[in-house]
């Protein structure tokens, strides 16, 4: 029976708003499908082993299916094999696993999304000049992909733009603020900064404001402050994934798998550029969170 169906989601984190939005999407889908879910993730995206412990505990509860956002593409493979042996369907979300066990992966192409941010940045600063990046993490998948996507696009497509600094603020608004201020202090000619997740973007915004600079700020993800900054023009725009969509996709795919439906290898939940002009569009508003 559907209401006895239990699907734990083991995520990469839970405190950040991005993951809270994924959780929201998953809960909505679970309610619609009348299944029970839980959602948990380690405190930082470095804690690969803690995530493995969470996955073990989730499997111990003998769930009907499982959702998993791997912090490391290889580390969990033995456990996933165990799940496969126990005939528990696995749905990957956010980023994939080096294995064909997951029936599908609900994800966004972070590299391409950050590339789009680079294109937008180039357009806004006239395709030349100095640019800096504030990233949340230098070892987590999302941090690496967003950084590399942005840098590669700049190098390949916008050779006149120079990246003067890439620094990491742990997604901590205060640290990111201080980092931004130091970047602006050391590089007064910077024309734009890209903040690679919500905390970094808010930090960049604060830092630019405190230094009383007028430069192009591009953010990532959403949240009340970013939305307000885009409306007020302090932020030029931001990339958003569809976290709510990722969450609902994960649960929906799991439910489909339990019904025996065939799933595509990858379910792209998409990403979007939003700015003052389109922030009100229904399609955009649906993927933003507060």
């Amino acid at each position: 029976r559907a209401e006895d169906t239990y699907i734990p989601l083991v995520s990469k984190g839970f405190q950040h708003q991005f993951w809270q939005a994924v959780k929201l999407g998953a809960e909505q889908a679970a309610k619609a499908a009348n299944v029970k879910i839980t959602f948990e993730g380690p405190e930082t995206e470095a804690m690969v082993d803690k995530q493995i412990d969470m996955l073990s505990a989730a499997l111990a509860k003998k769930p009907q299916a499982i959702g998993f956002a791997a912090l490391d593409s290889k580390a969990a493979i033995p456990l996933l094999k165990k799940a496969q042996a126990a005939k528990i369907p696995v749905i990957a979300f956010d980023s994939g696993v080096d294995s064909d066990i997951p029936l599908t992966t609900c994800t966004t192409d972070n590299l391409a999304a950050a590339g789009l941010a680079a294109d937008k940045m180039a357009g806004l600063i006239g395709d030349a000049g100095e640019v800096a990046v504030v990233v949340h993490d230098q070892t987590s998948r999302t941090g690496i992909d967003r950084r590399d996507g942005f840098l590669k696009q700049m190098k390949d497509k916008h050779p006149n733009i120079k990246i003067v600094s890439v620094q990491y603020g742990g997604g901590d608004q205060l640290k990111s603020t201080e980092i931004t201020k130091s970047i602006l202090q050391a590089n007064p000619n910077v024309k734009g900064i890209f903040g690679a997740n919500e905390g970094s973007a808010i930090g960049v915004l604060n830092g630019v404001k405190e230094m009383k600079k007028k430069i192009v700020v591009i953010g990532y993800d959403s949240g009340k402050q970013q939305k307000a900054a885009i409306l007020s023009g302090e932020m030029a725009g931001a990339i958003t994934q569809n976290p709510i969509g990722i969450g609902s996709c994960t649960v929906d795919s799991a439910v489909k798998a339990l019904k025996g439906e065939k799933l595509p290898k990858i379910t792209d939940t998409g990403f979007y550029w939003y700015d003052k002009s389109n922030i009100g569009d229904a399609k955009i508003a649906a993927v933003l969170y507060d």
Binding site: Q15, V164, S165, Y168, L174, T177, Q185, A186, Q225
Partner: protein, 345 residues
């Protein structure tokens, strides 16, 4: 027996000449020199960074550093009290966050006027400190564990109370003024020192007075020096320790207001890890972890060493992984320098 110069101070009828001589001694004597030496690491760092990058020694960067020191500085002041008692408080970081969240609850969820939020943050901090102090004194749980437990409890509660999402101060537009505006700049336009730095200074002066001129301060040192002796002297050590932890908590409440006003929101997931920075600042500033000694001035210098270092390395665009290495080494060297200075004195 004792230094005659010192004894003379005792006498009530000092002549003007005596007073001048005393002042000179105070400013130029070996004790003053020793205090100046405490600044040595800080000054050395600043000189180095000034030569290494022209962007460092500029008014606006100095103001950046002032502002960047505020939160850690206030947390370090809170920690100083506890550390002088030979205790430790690992919960300062998450307590700061929890206080910020409580301010958010009052101001945004309940739409109350701004002063209530300020009171709420400080009262929450004091209350939590009192709880820690009670666990430590009445349940005899060592401070490290009691405050480690509180760290987790407060981290959880901050998430619970805020609903795991940031609280924005939408109802109190001028909340951000607390830390970001510059009262001083409004009077002296050339000195746009942000309020955050002013608050740090005010807290430092307040803490210095409490530590050096009140009974609370006296018992802080006494307990850190020999708790059993204080107890045998008939002092209610438990009560004073609870008060000291409560005071530390209240000061964390101020830090909570500062950070919330700085980033214009209460971020429930932030805070863990800040306690180590605060403790490092305290120890770099010459306060001993085994208790009984310490100064607020030292703590402030320690906090500035930490933020000058971070700021300078960032201005030099040192790769982040190397920033960790350098920071680790400098923390050790700064404390080593302080040891040497003390030994020579």
């Amino acid at each position: 027996m004792s230094d005659p110069a010192l004894v003379k101070d005792d006498k009530d009828g000092m002549t003007t000449g005596d007073a001048v001589a005393a002042l000179r001694r105070r400013l130029l004597g070996p004790a003053a020199l020793q205090k100046l030496l405490a600044f040595a690491s800080l000054v050395l760092l600043m000189i180095y960074f000034s030569f290494a990058s022209p962007a460092f020694m500029q008014t606006d960067n100095m103001i950046n550093i002032l502002q960047a020191t505020a939160v850690n500085g206030v947390l370090a002041i809170a920690s100083t009290f506890v550390i002088i008692t030979a205790g430790i408080d690992l919960s300062v970081g998450t307590l700061m966050t929890f206080c910020a969240v409580m301010a958010g609850v009052f101001l945004t969820y309940w739409e109350l006027p701004m002063w209530t939020g300020i009171v709420a943050a400080i009262a929450t901090g004091a209350l939590s400190g009192v709880v820690s102090g009670t666990v430590i004194t009445k349940m005899k749980v060592p401070p490290f564990i009691a405050t480690l437990g509180m760290m987790l409890v407060l981290k959880g509660l901050a998430l619970v109370v805020s609903g795991s999402k940031p609280i924005y101060f939408t109802n109190t537009e001028n909340f951000s003024m607390i830390s970001q505006d510059s009262l001083l700049g409004a009077i002296v336009p050339d000195l746009p020192i942000p309020n955050a730095a002013l608050i740090l200074i005010v807290m430092a002066v307040f803490a210095s007075i409490v530590l050096n001129r009140t009974a609370l301060g006296r018992y802080t040192f006494a307990i850190g020096s020999n708790e059993e002796a204080v107890r045998l002297s008939g002092v209610n050590v438990d009560r004073w320790k609870i008060i000291i932890y409560g005071l530390g908590g209240a000061i964390c409440g101020v830090a909570g207001l500062l950070i919330a006003s700085r980033i214009n929101s209460a971020q429930p997931a932030l805070g863990q890890g800040y306690e180590l920075d605060a403790i490092a600042a305290v120890v770099i500033g010459g306060t001993s972890l085994s208790g009984g000694t310490g100064t607020i001035l030292g703590t402030i210098i320690g906090a500035f060493i930490m933020s000058v270092l971070t700021n300078g390395l960032r201005i030099l665009s040192v790769a982040q992984e190397w920033q960790f290495v350098v920071t680790g080494i400098i923390i050790i060297l700064a404390v080593y320098a302080d040891m040497l200075r003390r030994k020579r004195a």
